[in-house]
Each structure stands twice: as structure tokens, then as C-alpha cells.
Symmetry: C2
Subunit: 314 residues, 2 copies
């Protein structure tokens, strides 16, 4: 499963663990990096103190490379970039915006920069900006998404840029990883499957919802706000859809009501409230049916990848 991405990031397998706000913290990151993938700490909307503390825990827990994801809409972005530089984090992924503002600082500190992109135009812009690789993410992914799906997105981006392309969205096993390599990707980012890692800190209720879900268990909400999110269907997503429809009716979106029901919803999900929490998950959730350690997950993916290779060689 080795590709040039392994050398670039100094990792054993080109498998990145997707950054999930309030979920991908030190415990999950350490377990993935120790297993030979790239663990990624989610910056989310967390303040600097939290990030510094988590980075130090990670460094204590593993001497392997890891990354921090910067959510560029965070009010603490500047602080988090400082923390990343001060703590000597080797790799950064970015989401929800344009990292131009920080590029000089990253490069001065020899930090590898990998933005998550949803389209060819943004991928090309990022390449011109001098990033080291990109994560091209399809809209079957969990959490905040774009509009194009992974299968048509990857080859179009691979044809448009010369830097390494990592595929994300809809990948849950070694078959999916091999498929992405066929499209020209040299790595994969996997989120949903790591939600059920034994080292992932989300409540068992949330994990159980993933384990029981089917191919049609997710829904996209929030298109009206310009920031659509994919998660498992539950009372929250139903309520959201009703309010969204009412907002259309007024033709003046009343975001207050939406904000009210989603405030703290991620925290509630992580704590086990599967009724009114935001259970972010991708469409591949239906394929995920056992809780395993991050090491078992990664080893499984590598074995399935090799088996797929053998199967197709016959």
C-alpha cells in the first residue's frame, strides 16, 4: 500500500484519520499514528489552551507523525496556528476556507500543508498557493460537505493538479482504498470508520447508531445556511428539516430557531444523546458493523487492500 505520500508524511500506510471536531482528540490520534496511519487532531472551535494540551498528550503518547486540522472559521485560528508552530507539529490539514493567510508562517516552520477541497477550481488554487498535497473530499462524507461526489471528483482533480491527491468521502475499507488508487489518489482519509474505534471517545450510544445504520441512514441538513452537514437521521435532523421548510416559507430564513436546536448538538452527540445530538457520519456508515481498535481497523484495511489487488489480478 506504499505510495509517495508515505515518504512525504513519514508514515507507514497512506491512511489519514479524518478530523472530526470534538471527536478526533489525543486518544484517537495517538492510536492511529501508532498503528502506522496519520492521526489528525481536530482543531474545531477549540481555544489555544485545549489544543496545546492535546498536542502535548499526543507527543507523550507517540513519537510518530501526526497532524492538526485547522477549521478556518474558528475564532481561535491565529492562536491555533501559533500553537502548531510553537509545539513543532509536522503536518497541518485545513478545512472550511482558504489557508493563504498562514502559508508563509507554515513554510517558515517547515510544516506540511494539506487543505481539504471540494472542487477542481479550489484544488488548482491551493496548488498555486504552494500546498504540499490536497485531500479531495466528496459529498458522501460525514460532517461539512461540498456538492460533488468522490468518484467523479478524484480523477478530475488528479488530472488538474501535479501534487499528491488524497481521497476522502465514502471510503471505509481496503476495497474503497484500492478503488481510490485506481482513480489516481495516493492516499485515503477515513472518518466514519474511526468513529467506532475503541480509542474514539464518543459515547457508546453514538457508536451503536453507526453500527446499526444502513446505506440510507444519513441525511444532509443546513444547505440553507450555506454550510451543509451530513449526519445520521434522528429527531434533530427531522426538526431541522421542519424549521428549514418554514424558513423557506417566510423567504427570510430565521436562523435563530435553527441555531437554537443545533447549539451544543455535537457535544450532546459525543456524550450519548442520539436523539437531539448531531451524529455526524458519512454514507459508508452502513458498511461499518464492528467496533475495533484503530490498529485492527488499519490492519484490516491493509489486508483488504492486498486481497483486492490479488482478486483483480486473476
Amino acid at each position: 500500500m506504499k505510495t509517495n505520500l508515505c515518504e512525504l508524511l513519514n508514515i507507514k500506510y497512506p491512511i489519514l484519520q479524518g478530523a472530526m471536531a470534538r471527536i478526533s482528540e489525543s486518544s484517537l490520534v495517538i492510536s492511529v499514528s501508532e498503528a502506522g496511519g496519520l492521526g489528525i487532531l481536530a482543531g474545531g472551535n477549540a481555544p489555544k489552551d485545549y489544543i496545546v494540551n492535546e498536542i502535548r498528550k499526543i507527543k507523550k503518547g507517540t513519537d510518530k507523525p501526526f497532524a492538526v486540522n485547522i477549521m478556518l472559521l474558528s475564532p481561535f485560528c491565529d492562536d491555533i496556528v501559533d500553537a502548531i508552530c510553537e509545539e513543532g507539529v509536522p503536518i497541518v490539514t485545513t478545512g472550511a476556507g482558504d489557508p493563504s493567510k498562514y502559508m508563509n508562517k507554515f513554510k517558515e516552520n517547515d510544516i506540511i500543508v494539506i487543505p481539504v477541497v471540494p472542487s477542481v477550481a479550489i484544488a488548482k488554487r491551493m496548488e498555486r498557493l504552494g500546498v504540499d498535497a490536497i485531500i479531495a473530499e466528496g459529498m458522501e462524507a460525514g460532517g461539512h460537505i461540498g456538492k460533488t461526489t468522490t468518484l467523479p471528483l478524484i480523477p478530475q482533480i488528479v488530472d488538474a493538479v501535479s501534487i499528491p491527491v488524497i481521497a476522502a468521502g465514502g471510503i471505509g475499507d481496503g476495497r474503497g482504498a484500492f478503488a481510490m488508487f485506481a482513480l489516481g489518489a495516493v492516499g485515503v482519509q477515513i472518518g466514519t470508520r474511526f468513529l467506532v474505534s475503541t480509542e474514539c471517545i464518543i459515547h457508546q450510544n453514538y457508536k451503536d447508531k453507526i453500527l446499526k445504520s444502513s446505506d440510507i441512514s444519513t441525511v444532509t441538513t443546513g444547505a440553507i445556511t450555506g454550510h451543509p452537514v451530513r449526519g445520521l437521521k434522528n429527531k434533530l435532523t427531522k426538526d431541522y428539516e421542519i424549521i428549514e421548510r418554514k424558513e423557506f416559507a417566510k423567504e427570510v430564513p430565521c436562523f435563530d430557531e435553527l441555531e437554537k436546536i443545533t447549539l451544543g448538538a455535537l457535544e450532546r452527540a459525543v456524550s450519548g444523546d442520539v436523539i437531539t445530538g448531531t451524529l455526524m457520519a458519512g454514507q459508508i456508515a452502513g458498511m461499518i458493523n464492528k467496533e475495533q481498535s484503530s490498529k485492527e481497523i488499519i490492519d484490516d484495511i491493509v489486508v483488504e487492500f492486498e486481497n483486492t489487488k490479488k482478486r483483480l489480478g486473476v
Copy 2:
């Protein structure tokens, strides 16, 4: 590129040409079947006379296998099934519904039946019904679509059924075909790329719109009607979205206005009206940048498939 699907359908390559109403007629079907793929005549809403006439043209143009797609919402379904049996059509694909009603008749006439399905549950139901294979189609496809994307859909369906699975939606070249084989599919159905086949009868304006499109050129309209459709963005889709929003406002959808602007829209597109016509196309449209004969398209896909295999070291 040979798989068990080739034997089942008696074709050289496991490449099916997607059935596109008013577009996939005898000219395109003959060219694809002659090139070693499976040409598929789109039944659409056409009456029996038209279908019989087209089937006879196809039989005159090729002695290779071909299929007819039955759109199960057509008012002429019963007649078309009769025509298929009377004319000795070897293979049928079905869309937009449940073909149970006709299964006995198909089986009495030794017709191979392959429904298009959007989810695991429907795939399993079709297998129980005794169909020969299924086409699992993701929502990045052009035309009428479901909700799940191809990449997570295929492995979940492959794991759920024992009959051959053909992947559709988002596939435009040999890399995509190989990726689908990695997921466990044994064939691919390709629509959008055949829109620009020299043997495809759509107006050059429509072809030019495909050739100039990007990864973000398509949009889904009609979710409000329960029958979402993917096509290239144009004045029609913008107008549709405005009316759709107004309908939400009233909370009583006024479908009349939508029907008015979409009436005859497919015919207009085929005739070259790219402003107010429905330019059905999938998200892979952005990757398609040259007009070729169906034979060139299929030969290209096969070469790319083999090159992908070599690149991956299989």
C-alpha cells in the same frame, strides 16, 4: 476486462451504455453493441410502435446482443413488454419502479432481467424476485437519481446480494471502471460519456455543453416532486429552483408551474435548445472533453482499464 457478466450477456466487454430517454435510440445502441459493449434502447414514455420500429432497426444494424430499458412509470409499459417478447429482445433493464408484474413473462421468454436500483434494500428485494443481475446507480448519475453515491453504494450492495452487480453513476473512463471492479462490481454502466458519441443523435449544442462543463456544472432539481433529476445548470434549472422555492413558501406545492416549464424540455434539449431544455448529465461530465465514436470510447476505456491495472502493479 472480462468478467462473468460477459458470459451472462454474451458481450465482449462488461460496459453497458446507460438508457437515456429520447437519446439512446437505435443509432447509439447499434454503435455500442457493435463495439463490444451492451447498447440499451431507452423505452422512456414512447409507444409500442416506436419501440418495435427501433428494435427492428437495431436487429438490422447488429447481430450482437442489445437490451431495452423499460421505464416502469410509462403508460405504455404493458405494450412495450409485449413488443420485447414478440421481437425476441434478449436483455431487459428496468428503471423507476418494481418489475415484479412482468417477471413471469420475462422468464417464460428467456429474457435476462437487470433492474436499476438505488439502495441495498431494493437490491435485496430484486434478488429475491429472481432477477439475473442488478445495476446499482449512485446519485452522481445524470437523469433520475436516488440519494446514495456510487462509492459507498457498490460495496454495500455487493456484500448484500449474490447476483452480479453492475456499477453506474460517476464512471467515465477505465480508471473509474477499474475502481468499480475493486469495489466488487463486475461491470459498469456509462451514460454521460456516450452523450458525446458521434453516433448519439443529440444536437451539437447539447454535446458542446457537456464538453465544456466542469466538475460543478450539474445540479439536482425536482426533489420536491419525489423524482429528483440531475442535469447541467442552465436557465431551466434556475427557473425551476425559483418556482420550487415559491412552492415551499406556499407549503402547498403548485406543480402546474413546474410542469409547464419542464413539458417537452427533454425534446428541446435533444433538438439543441440548451437554454430551456433539460440537459441530463452526470457529475462526470466535467471529465469528458472529446467527441468520439462509440467504438473509440469503448476501446479507450479498455486501454485505460489495462493501464490502470499496470500502474497499480496488479
